[in-house]
Amino acid sequence: MKESKLHTEHTKQTEHSVIRIEGLVKHFGDNHVLNGFNMDLYAGENLVIMGKSGSGKSVMIKCVMGLMQPDEGKIRIMGLDVLSMEQQELDQLRKEIGFLFQGSALYDSMTVRENLEFPLRKQNLEQSEKDELVMDALESVGLEHAVELMPSELSGGMKRRIALARAIILHPKIIIYDEPTTGLDPITAKEIIQLMRNIQKKHGSAALIITHDVDCSRVIADRMILLIDGVNYAEGSFSDLIASKDEKIRAFFK
C-alpha cells in the first residue's frame, strides 16, 4: 500500500517535472566531475544546487543546455530528450529556457537594446513588438533608461540586471541562474535576489539556481540539493539542511 502510494506520488511528480536528470556522468580525463547526478525540477519551484567551486555545477547546467555532451545519463526537458535532439529542435526548446550567465555574458559590441533584441532575431516580430518586449524586460529589472548604453558603460550590477532582462525577454518557462550573485556587493546581490523573486512571481517560471551563496539560498530556495563528489549528497529545504549534523553539509553553512 505504502509502496503504491509512493509510486503514485513519484509518477505525479515526474509529470510535473520540467527538467529531469538521471545518472549524469561527465569526466575530463582523470577528473571525474559528475558521477551519476540525479535531479528533478518541478514547474514553478525554485531549486538551488549548492556545491564547492569545481564541483561540477556549471558543467551540469552546460549539459542541460546542450552546450556540453555528458559521458552518460539522461536529460529530459519538458519531457523531451535533450541528448538525442537535432540542432533545430534544441534551438526551439532553448526558447523556453532563460539563462543567466555567471559573468553576465553581454555582447560587448552591441548596445543594451541590441543585446535584448538578439534572442528575438528569429521570432518573426515587427520592430514595434520587439521594442515593446525590450522595454517590458527592462522595466522588470528597473533599467529602462539604459536602453541605448553599451555594456562597457554599465556597472557590474547593471550588467547582471540587463543579462537577467535578456534571459526573460521570451517569457521562458524555466530560468537557469549560474551563480547570480557572484562578484556583486551584498546590496546589489540582494537587489538581484529580489528581482529573481519578482520575476518568478510575474511569470510563474521554474528556476534552477546554481550558487554557493548561503544568503541567496536562504531567501530563494524552495528546495536544495548539495552537490558533493559529483552526486547529490543531500536534498531538502534550507531549514532541513542547515539543521543537519553531517559535517560535510554543515561546512556549507559555516
Binding site: 543546455m65 552546450l67 526551439q92 532553448r94 539563462f99 559573468g103 553581454l106 560587448d108 534572442p119
Partner: protein
C-alpha cells in the same frame, strides 16, 4: 617486436593543429551554403574589415611605392634604364609585393583582431550565450568573418597596389621629371592579364586564410585572458606563415601554367 616511431611532441601538436584547422575549414564550407544567411552581420564585417583598413593599407602602399622606387632608381640609372622604372615597379607591385605586403598587414590587423574578439567572446561566455539564445554562433560569428575577409582582402590589395603605384609615380615625377600620364601609360602597358589574374586569384586565398586562422584561433580559445592574448598572437604568426605557403603554391602553379 614491432618498433614504434616516436613523433616529437611539437611536431605532433602541429599536425593536430593542422587537422583541427582543416576540420574547421570543412565546417565553414558546410555552414556557408545552409540557411539562415547572416547578411546583416556579413555587411557589418565587410565594413569593419574593408573600410577601417583603408587608411593603413593606403599609407603602407604609398610608402612601399615611394621606397621601392627611390631604392631602385640608382641601380637602373647605372645602366641607363630609368625608363623601365614604371613597368618594373608595376609588375613587381601587382604580381608579388603588393598582395603579399597588404595581406601581411591585414594579417596583423584583421586576423589578430578576429582572434582577440572571438577569443574574448569565448572566455566571457558570449558565444555560449549566443548558442542558448537559439543562434548558431559558428554561422553568425565565423562564417561571416571568413567570408568578409575573403571578399575584402582582394579589394584592399587592389587599393594598396594603386596607391603604391601613385607613390612610385610621385617619386618619378619629382626626381625624374616623368609626368603622371607618361608614368601610368608605361606602367599599364607593361601589365598583362597573366600578371593580374594570378595575383587576384591568390588574393582571395590570402583573404580566406586571414579569416580562417583568426576565427579558428579565437573560436577555439581556452585558458581565460592569457588564452585571448595567445589566440591573437598565434593568429598573426600562423596566418603570416600560411600566406607565404599560399604564395609559394600560387607562384608554382602560375609558373606551370605559364610554361604550358
Amino acid at each position: 617486436m614491432e618498433k614504434r616511431i616516436r613523433i616529437p611532441e611539437n611536431v605532433r601538436s602541429f599536425l593536430i593543429e593542422i587537422g583541427d584547422l582543416s576540420y574547421f575549414a570543412g565546417r565553414f564550407f558546410q555552414e556557408l551554403f545552409t540557411r539562415p544567411f547572416e547578411l546583416k552581420e556579413l555587411m557589418r564585417q565587410c565594413y569593419n574589415m574593408g573600410n577601417r583598413s583603408l587608411l593603413l593599407v593606403g599609407v603602407t602602399g604609398f610608402i612601399l611605392g615611394l621606397v621601392f622606387t627611390l631604392q631602385s632608381r640608382p641601380t637602373l640609372m647605372e645602366f641607363g634604364a630609368e625608363s623601365w622604372m614604371p613597368s618594373m615597379v608595376s609588375i613587381s607591385i601587382v604580381r608579388e609585393i603588393g598582395p603579399v605586403i597588404t595581406a601581411l598587414i591585414c594579417a596583423g590587423r584583421i586576423s589578430s583582431g578576429i582572434g582577440a574578439e572571438l577569443g574574448s567572446m569565448r572566455v566571457t561566455e558570449q558565444i555560449d550565450a549566443m548558442e542558448v539564445s537559439g543562434t548558431n554562433p559558428f554561422k553568425y560569428l565565423v562564417v561571416t568573418r571568413i567570408l568578409a575577409a575573403t571578399l575584402m582582402i582582394p579589394l584592399l590589395i587592389i587599393f594598396g597596389d594603386a596607391i603604391a603605384l601613385l607613390g612610385s609615380a610621385l617619386v618619378e615625377y619629382l626626381k625624374g621629371d616623368v609626368s603622371f600620364q607618361l608614368y601610368f601609360n608605361s606602367a599599364f602597358d607593361a601589365l598583362e592579364y597573366s600578371d593580374i589574374n594570378p595575383a587576384i586569384i591568390k588574393s582571395f586565398f590570402f583573404g580566406f586564410a586571414i579569416g580562417l586562422v583568426g576565427s579558428y584561433k579565437g573560436y577555439t580559445c581556452t585558458r581565460g585572458t592569457v588564452g585571448v592574448g595567445e589566440a591573437s598572437n598565434s593568429a598573426v604568426v600562423f596566418t603570416s606563415m600560411l600566406l607565404f605557403v599560399i604564395d609559394f603554391i600560387a607562384v608554382f602553379v602560375t609558373d606551370i601554367f605559364t610554361e604550358i
